[in-house]
Symmetry: D2
């Protein structure tokens, strides 16, 4: 806890991702201070609170009632997001919400309407936008350095499949996993998507197949500008978390390559070896999470447009729905079909 | 000309690609010797013949009648391929044919039938199979080193568009450019394609748009095994010839990266620069062409299966047709629709 | 400040490097807590204390008298190090001392004797040992993976020269800058150095030349095993902080390459650009500082040998003296000449 | 053999390196033609001649008497070089001589005087100057792109030691192996060397130790400009032929990195592997040999200064002698001591 932090932030939901956010707020953002945590499990709540030197709230209402809480970070289960956004906005709190805002577009729209009506700052947690490498690709596009984008290419592969219990409630690979990539396509290309072609397969994980989901997925997005984005995603890349982004333009190409655990190389008679890729998102995207919170603090304290607005948070949900429909019906889906 | 070369090869059609083949045969393949060239333009024919120290034949018939000619390399216009294959086979010559064999499947089948009936060796010039990097990717797949392939990814971008006169007679981007990538998908994944989704755009070249062709193209191939290949292609990558191939499998990933003109790097205050990519196919794939001719010589002299058989040469033509249909009708096309 | 931190650490001297250490202790080491800071400048002291939520001590005696202080981190001017080590040891505190322990070998020996007599934990701040890439090179050597080392190679270049006022009191390039590289040679090769050849030049900085120092330096170390280490160092690499380490052995080679600010690449017609190197030590070695403090906490709390012992902290000082003598007299210097 | 080659070149000495030169002349240099070979072994001579379609001369006199021979490539044993240069010059032939010209400076000077007196073109075979990567480093220096050079760094490691019989007559590691690196230092830095510090060790090869030679060697060269070059060399790098060149200047840095057999990478759970380095000089420097012969042909046919003059061929011999003396006497050696 840094006493100089003027922005008091409470975190609702301190499972794996919420706990990480709470620690970053407590330790790495000098303008912010962590002022409380809540979790549906009192044990989890007490443990995190004790570790980070703050109070464990008995309820979210308690957090919302506290004058110390300037902003609420919503890291609870997806199904609770929209209601919490609405309650926090009604309490006049700035709101940070983990992605996705909701799996129901109606709820998304209600939540956005609520923060708009309350006039409170609102930001959606698409952290990959804040990765320095990916952000450099966007910069190369948006400054015109590589001209008009014609093709974007996103590779997104997890090191290993999540527990099947998680898969069953995840909403499916399109909304659970590719939602990040759909957001990345919007972020990089900067032209709205008008059509989605998507197809998936359950090629190696029998549990995922039985759950009716895919372990392998490909999507082709057509942007209004004519640019085409290809996405390939897998629930399993045994060599580590593979996260690459690339844009081809009329004046050049920009790419963001993978990160390794270190820059050592060992050359032996039979092979030259590189260090492995960073294992998963907590390591690979550590920088992005810190920069994301810095952006939130700057936004709430300094004003200006949201770093990731409600509309920007909504767009990839629509894309995920279109992708699911395309994969199901084996036909391209126009975005206007979804809403 | 190396006197020790026992396999006499004549080249029909010595424009840019045929001239290159003739020079490789004459200078780099110790088992082969160049024994004659022919071109529809007598000036071109004489020039190449004089440069390489062989005779310029007055006609293809003259080449086919010569006992010095053991094999004919067909590098003439695509429309003449199938007829020349049939004539060469009838003359008992081994046949190397540049891709594509024909734009008509009927002609392709007639040509294959002719070489089969004559029992002469036959190989189609898909040179990229012989690139050491791409071949290493295939090896990683076919030895099982990376397990079962789930996703393959091919990037194929020319440095700049060809003359519009060429585009108009090229047969379109699918058969002219992606045919190599369709063959690469078959080569790498090793499971036949059952469905194609393809879409293109004329995003930066008005001449190509007016000619009804695409300058930008994406294809998604579904293999019988369930594996999915994505291909992205562009007629223009201003940074040079971009040729990348990648396969993700259940036990690992293999990729073949671009080649640069040299391995120098210059670091200055503002940027660290790498040498540019090798400019185009004559440089980038120089190794592959040499290895291709070595494979042809070994095959004709030593027997065994064709390095690129008629069936393997036919398959990407079918894919190109399926892709063209998919792009036209904006729907996935099953291969059995094509034939 | 994490309440769970059981090891109370105070920092004496909170200029650039001490302030960084204090922040790491306060925020990133869960077993430790920052319990006080002191600086010769009361303003600096108060500023850091306020930022990190601790008290600014009025004197080092106050820190040493406090029961909350389990360990003292000495980050003051080099000339004060040995005396502070002795006082802290007398007070029964564990001691972390920034490098170099002293520019006088007599003082170094007195300080080491004091901590030995008091039986307090003692560690010298050679942070580069904790860099994950450099540590991987050492691991490749010490596990035998690359056999017996025959050649080590260290490149060490600062982005730009320090202020000339700093150069004048720095002790010269050998002790100010190469001391890290001398330690790295010992760390990687693992065999004591028996001879030093060193030569320097003032090639681009007139102020450094007038101050009688070098801006460019090369050293060749001969190890007892016969292995040879070459070091090249420069006060100026306009492209960024260049830190590379390499070991050639009889069974292979290991190297630790530079780190860039991100993994983006931009390819344009004229050049393919990489992101710049990380600018200087605060960025490049951020991981190493954190891991260094973790190692200190583990050592003090868990026992075992010091991660960087007094003897290990002394060795590179001897090498710097030998290098200075070699460069002055233009002859190889045996280590036994120095002491 | 290309009939259009106007420059007739004969090769004297067609062991491994001479045979390679003969093949390049015969096949890859359109302005040149191979017009004869000679070897002290008639069998070797006949074999190469038959392979390349030329006559095997019965003596070097026969080659020198032939009007078809415009230039003589001297690839015989080093001890015969100077006499052959003198005889070829007397016969009015252009001369290409493999490095080193001689192990005796007196003979070197006589040979240079002879070609000067005869006014015939003369070039020494320091092929690494023609490597595209190394040449790019020189270009970055000589265009001023990276400012004034302060440090150069050369790594030169063979994959495995030569037969001990070869080592015994090789003249020692300084003249046999580092002569290339001494030339590279001159080539890159462009300022004459004034002092050498050298030291070696026989660390892993007992046969080399018994022969009184080194298997490991380091040299530090001081240039007139003040720039310092470090060279590290080994008779054994089990991971392949390691050839790196680097120059640090006041405005930047340029390096030439190793080349691999292909650009494939295979990522598996335990490691990400790169393809091995190109094995040895015939593969690694294949481009350089071709470009070298092109430069020779352009020089003889087109005039201008020699691509590698007699003085440039002499300089690294002096450096090798200085290095041997420095290593023997364990002191820096000024070049004027050698002559």
């Amino acid at each position: 806890m840094t006493p100089s932090g003027t922005l008091g932030i409470a975190v609702a939901g301190v499972g794996r991702i919420g706990r990480m956010h709470a620690r970053i707020i407590a330790e790495q953002i000098s303008e912010a201070r962590l002022v409380g945590v809540y979790d549906i499990s009192p044990d989890v709540s007490r443990d995190v609170a004790s570790n980070l030197g703050v109070d464990a709230a008995a309820s979210i209402d308690e957090l919302l009632a506290s004058p110390d809480v300037d902003a609420l970070a919503i890291c609870t289960a997806t199904s609770t997001h929209s209601e919490l956004i609405i309650r926090a906005a009604a309490a006049g709190k700035a709101v940070f919400c983990e992605k996705p805002v909701s799996l129901s577009l109606g709820e998304v729209d209600e939540a956005i309407a609520a923060v708009d009506a309350a006039g409170v700052p609102f930001m959606v947690g698409f952290n990959r936008r804040f990765d320095p490498g990916h952000a450099a690709v966007r910069r190369a596009v948006h400054t015109g350095e590589i001209g008009e984008v014609t093709i974007a290419r996103i590779t997104s592969r997890d090191p290993s499949p999540p527990p099947i219990e998680y898969v069953r409630v995840s909403g499916g690979i399109w909304v659970d996993m590719l939602i990040h990539d759909f957001d990345m396509a919007n972020f990089i290309v900067g032209s709205p998507v008008v059509q989605v072609w998507a197809q998936g397969g359950a090629l190696f994980d029998a549990g995922i197949r039985e759950a009716g989901d895919f372990d392998t997925a490909v999507a082709v997005l057509t942007h209004e500008s004519g640019a085409i984005t290809t996405i390939d995603a897998s629930r399993m890349a045994v060599y580590g978390y593979d996260q690459r982004v690339e844009a081809l333009g009329t004046k050049g190409m920009a790419l963001s390559d993978n990160k390794r655990v270190n820059n050592a190389q060992v050359y032996r008679e039979d092979a030259s070896q590189l260090a492995p890729l960073q294992y998963f998102f907590l390591e690979r995207y550590a920088d992005s999470y810190r920069i994301e919170w810095q952006a939130f603090a700057d936004y709430v304290l300094g004003g200006g447009p949201s770093p990731v607005s409600g509309a920007e948070g909504r767009a990839p949900i629509v894309l995920a729905m279109a992708a699911a429909l395309s994969a199901k019906e084996a036909r391209p889906v126009r975005l206007e079909e979804i809403g």
